[in-house]
């Protein structure tokens, strides 16, 4: 997996995108300049997030655990 993909925090990105979307929803008056700034910000977040959500191969690692190796020596000292 690429380093950039690992850095993307999807939770944060989605949160920021939600806030931008809400900002547009809540606006009664048109503010083209600020709107453009928000759109630019959203485009970066969307691009990053979609990059992370694109197909990335899964990695599988099998742990061959020898449980018996954890056995400890016991003695019958209780007898």
């Amino acid at each position: 997996m690429k380093k950039e993909e690992q850095k993307v925090n999807l939770t944060e990105n989605l949160d920021k995108l939600s806030k931008i979307s809400e900002w547009f929803d809540a606006r009664d008056e048109i503010d083209v300049e600020e709107g453009l700034t928000k759109v630019k910000e959203a485009v970066v977040l969307i691009k990053e997030s979609k990059g992370r959500l694109s197909e990335i191969e899964n990695e599988f690692e099998t742990i061959k655990k020898d449980l018996d190796s954890e056995d400890q020596g016991e003695s019958e000292s209780d007898f």
Binding site: S18, E57, E61, S77
Partner: protein
Amino acid sequence: MEENKPYTVSNYIELINSTLEGLFADIIGEISELKIASSGHIYLTLKDKDTGYILPCTIWKRDYDLIAIKLEVGMEILVRGKPDFYGPFGKLSFIAKHAELVGEGALKKAYDELKKKLTSEGLFEQSRKKPIPLFPQKIGVITSLHGAVIHDFSNNLKKFGFKVKIVDSKVEGPESGKFLTLAVRYFKKQDIDVLVLIRGGGSMQSLAGFDNEALVREISSFPVPVITGIGHHKDIPLATLVSDASESTPSLVATLLNKSWEEAVYSIDKKQSNILNIYSNWLENFSQKIESSFRKINSFLNNIIEKHKKAKELLRNATGRISLQIRLDRKKLIGIQTDILSGFKSTTEMIRIDKIPNTGKRIIELCLRGCKKISDKIKDISKLIESNDPDKLLKLGYSIISNSKGIIKSIKDIKIGENIEINVFDGKILSEVKNINK
């Protein structure tokens, strides 16, 4: 060892134990005696119900904790292990690594009792369950690598870059409880986002490992959420009850892990559409407002140009009328002058020959009348001139524009870049033509 040389006791006991190594077996019997030592080790006697023969057994504390069955005298159990001759006491004992209850009825009874006990402790309460984190990536999986389960799980896990660590564990029968518990303990020390326990369906005996008390307690205290996907029929495995989330199959567990990732794809598409649609509408509205403003300004300018044209026409007409009036008035003045001179001449003549009595007085009267007539006429002309005076029109805000060739009456008279002179009432403005519109 040399032939015929006697063994020491210790050597012989070693020989016995090495021989006994191969006697690993499952043994069924009834517990006739049971002792739990202060160390926690279990010492019990298994009795053959038919012959009454007995076999001393030992279960070390560590194994007993993992077996997680409360053994009691009278229970019929199966033990799995091997015999060992303990030198210090000169005693043979069967060392059981595993013990389980025998028969579905016993299992069901143990299941019900344990479920009741753990329920009373609140281990299955909804409030204890941890939420599955968004975008889980590091997944711990405990299952058997033999069989289709792991393939069903991994094939249904979509490609979101999951990092899956799998511990191969026994999952079959009561004995699997020990291995499952140890596997969960192993993952407690690993950096994972979520732990998954999966296996296919089976009978109560087959799934008994997932009813292991030690396993249930390990899951209950596990630091990250645990998801189970254990197929079952009637009685829900206790591991499923205590887990933070459960699905009926391993495939559905994979689907659950995919969920937040898939929702993110949908959510991003939706937000993208919302943001861009709103902004696009804004731009369209903004463009319409600009267009509307442009139309208003254009109309205003056209209005001014139209008024200017009318003023120019008015000025031209007024100038024409003034010139005509001046010409007419000049003629009248010349007529009056002629009349006065003629009258004056005849009067002088009459005075000279003294034909008229009181001539002097009449002359004065005639002169006064003539003067008044002239004065009235001059007043009328002054008023007319004043009313059409170009200066007055200039004071009203009109102006006369001229270039080097004279007064500009048409756009044809000027060129872009040409210098023009704008005459207003109190002076001149020098300007340059930037644009010409029809």
